[in-house]
């Protein structure tokens, strides 16, 4: 067959990254969104999200990318992905209304022989409820990672495809598109695929929870978690890519959504989700490590302290502040003066009335009693601790992710505190 044309509906993070990556693989791609203003911005190459390579690949593949808000333009597509990001509330509960609206519109506009593939994050049972006679509908698991989304879309580890009947072959156009990525394709029932996505995330959360639980113990008994991690990664049952870096709880929205979904389903069906709730509690506990430590070291010791905060995004290489530990910290620093810097997120995102928008990392440190490095941006790791020490008024540096050079910090006379090691 000729090279299939691929459509992507929903031009937020997931749809945009997936569409641009498909064009990089050599496919002509129709990028559709109901929001004409969003499309107009994309036509101007004014991208609403920040991801490594995304700008470059959008420019490079401009001839293969068609941005449109005319739904009729999807009629030329052989495969149409429905990929709006599903928003969540503070409890991780999904708002499925936008994906329902978009899916309805796409199903109505798609050619009868086109494969419609749902890529958004939906709960088990959602896809089967949308299955209609005569419509070829699939659910495909997305495993993009904020900050590495393009890389993950270009080089997926496998495709997990939810089908009405997994014994039937995939449509040729869909098969052709997936095969172009050179990875295993795993067809399964809709419900299995939907739960596979959640299962992946639960495994990640379990690993992170192990790391956080034992890192906290390290902080009390003199062990160093970073010394233990290599030993774990050499264990084949754990593996070199395991999520073992301690952090400030679970953030970003996606994992929280799946945690909430598992609890909701367990409550509904009477299965045991005690361990999942323990992961959630542990995440909340570790999120406040910086606040507790800052209180112990600075807030309870100095009158009217000034706190420098580097990083607002929930992780490096993203603009997203969803469940950001930095914003969670700043929420509780409202009575104090704060000096904030992030390479991407504006200081206006900080909820503090006494917030100074620093022009640089060192500007943020100027005259501060303590420094908290709340996002492990690569550029922060290049900071010279001696210069930080010169700018700070106090000596306390909280670096939960060990972004700075520990040895250099201590050599500069800083009181350095990080996760997984006693200060």
């Amino acid at each position: 067959m000729t090279t299939p044309i691929i459509g992507f509906a929903g031009m937020t993070h997931l749809g945009l990254v997936s569409g641009v990556s498909a064009s990089e693989k050599g496919f002509n791609v129709v990028c559709f969104d109901l929001d004409a203003a969003r499309i107009a911005a994309l036509v101007r190459h004014d991208l609403p999200v920040s991801e490594p390579q995304l700008n470059e690949l959008t420019a490079k593949n401009v001839k293969r990318l068609k941005f449109t808000s005319a739904i009729a333009d999807l009629s030329i597509c052989d495969v149409i992905y429905v990929a709006p990001d599903v928003p969540t509330d503070v409890l991780g509960q999904s708002n499925l209304e936008p994906v329902n609206v978009l899916l309805g519109a796409v199903v109505a506009a798609a050619r009868a022989d086109a494969a419609v593939v749902l890529l958004s994050q939906v709960p088990p049972g959602f896809t089967r409820d949308w299955q209609r006679p005569g419509r070829v509908l699939y659910y495909q698991v997305e495993t993009l990672i904020f900050g590495r989304a393009v890389e993950r879309a270009l080089y997926p580890e496998r495709y997990i495809v939810g089908c009405a009947d997994p014994t039937q072959p995939l449509p040729l156009a869909y098969q052709t598109f997936l095969t172009a990525h050179g990875c295993p394709i795993l067809p399964m029932r809709y419900e299995s695929a939907e739960l596979a996505k959640i299962s992946i995330n639960m495994c990640l959360v379990a690993s992170v929870s192990v790391a956080n639980t034992l890192a906290e113990l390290c902080e009390k008994i003199g062990a160093v978690w970073s010394e233990i991690v290599p030993a774990l990664k050499l264990d084949k049952r754990i593996g070199q890519y395991a999520y073992l870096a301690p952090g400030l709880g679970i953030a970003g929205g996606n994992l929280e959504r799946d945690l909430a979904t598992v609890c909701n389903y367990a409550d509904r069906h009477g299965t045991d989700a005690g361990v999942v709730r323990a992961w959630i509690a542990n995440s909340c506990h570790r999120r406040d490590w910086t606040l507790r430590t800052l209180h112990r070291e600075t807030l309870s010791r100095i009158d009217d302290p000034v706190i420098a905060v580097l990083g607002l995004a929930y992780k490096q290489d993203t603009h997203s502040t969803k469940s950001s530990p930095s914003l969670a910290l700043l929420e509780h620093l409202k009575p104090f003066r704060v000096r904030v810097f992030d390479p991407v997120v504006p200081a206006s995102a900080a909820p503090n009335p006494r917030c100074y928008a620093a022009k640089s990392e060192l500007d943020a440190c100027e005259g501060a009693d303590a420094l908290a490095v709340m996002t492990p941006w690569q550029q922060f790791s290049k900071l010279d601790p001696a210069k930080i020490a010169q700018r700070l008024r106090g000596r306390v540096v909280l670096d939960p992710y060990a972004t700075l050079n520990v040895t250099a910090c201590r050599a500069a006379g800083l009181d350095y505190l990080t996760l997984g090691a006693r200060s």
Partner: protein, 294 residues
């Protein structure tokens, strides 16, 4: 977790303290008055909440603008049985009935960490209450009674072990240790004193209560420092205060070791600039007061 109803601290027009004779009540009264807030401090001699007439007497005294701090309770040293439980519940019934009659602007109920299962080693406000004895059950029931006052903003404080000069219970820990050291020159521990507990100075309890009154805080808050020390460490701290050598005596262990730590993140979030009195400083302060009083 607690919520401040006042965006900015604001003095209540008057504070009514019930159970003001105890050493916590006295400390709170002192700090309330130091803030320039008028206070009425009622002892059981002035108003016996277990009496049938208590409702009308208290209702006549209360104004809708008052903040009420309810500390009155028969503690385990006054009895651990069902009769004590029922009397304590009657006392709370009187308070609730009087408030329903006259209204008040804020109710602070002093509960206890006895509402938590003693087997749980780490406690936060999210830890489910699971009292193991009648005293804990009493406090938990009284919490629910307080919260049933739907028209009144209610704060429940659950203090950990409290120490201070005027402690009347002589409970195992810094209070008993310093008295024993002064009187006998020795401190006797249960086992090796391995158990860890969080002890808070009574002045910190009073200071936090005043802050909650100023902020008109509602919800539930554990009143603890977040630092637990073993009884052996505390005994050593107490012993260090004396010029003469204090013997610390360990005894054969009769009961299994239990630990108790508090997660105080919610307290820090509520009052991020609060400074706890460190155990070393608090024990030294109480020792100095004791010697001066002697």
């Amino acid at each position: 977790m607690i919520t401040h109803q006042n965006a900015q601290p604001q003095k209540p027009t008057r504070v009514v303290l019930l159970g003001a004779r105890g050493f916590i009540g006295a400390a709170i009264r002192g700090q309330v008055e130091a803030q320039g807030i008028p206070a009425i401090a009622l002892t059981s001699a002035e108003l016996d909440l277990a009496e049938a007439t208590a409702v009308d007497k208290l209702a006549a005294l209360l104004k809708p603008s008052d903040a009420v701090v309810m500390l009155a309770a028969l503690t385990p040293d006054k009895g651990r049985g069902i009769a004590t439980l029922m009397k304590n519940l009657v006392m709370m019934q009187s308070v609730c009935a009087a408030i329903e009659k006259s209204g008040c602007a804020h109710l602070v109920y002093f509960s206890s960490d006895a509402v938590y299962d003693t087997a749980i080693s780490r406690v936060t406000e999210d830890t489910p209450a699971s009292p193991q004895d009648l005293y804990g059950a009493m406090h938990y029931t009284r919490e629910i009674m307080a919260r049933s006052l739907t028209k009144v903003p209610v704060l429940v404080l659950r203090p950990t072990l409290i120490y201070g000069l005027h402690d009347t219970h002589n409970s195992y820990g810094p209070n008993r240790f310093r008295r024993a050291a002064q009187k006998d020159g020795k401190i006797t521990l249960f086992g090796g004193g391995e158990e860890t507990r969080d002890h808070i100075h009574v002045d910190d309890v009073a200071a936090l209560t005043v802050r909650c009154l100023l902020c008109k805080s509602t919800g539930t808050l554990n009143v603890a420092t977040g630092v637990s020390k073993s009884f052996h460490e505390l005994a050593e701290l107490v012993a260090k205060q004396f010029d003469n050598s204090i013997e610390i005596i360990v005894t054969p262990r009769a009961n299994p070791i239990t630990q108790r730590h508090y997660g105080v993140t919610n307290l820090i979030k509520a009052f991020p600039d609060f400074r706890f009195i460190a155990p070393e400083d608090g024990i030294a302060r109480v020792h100095k007061q004791m010697m001066e009083a002697a």
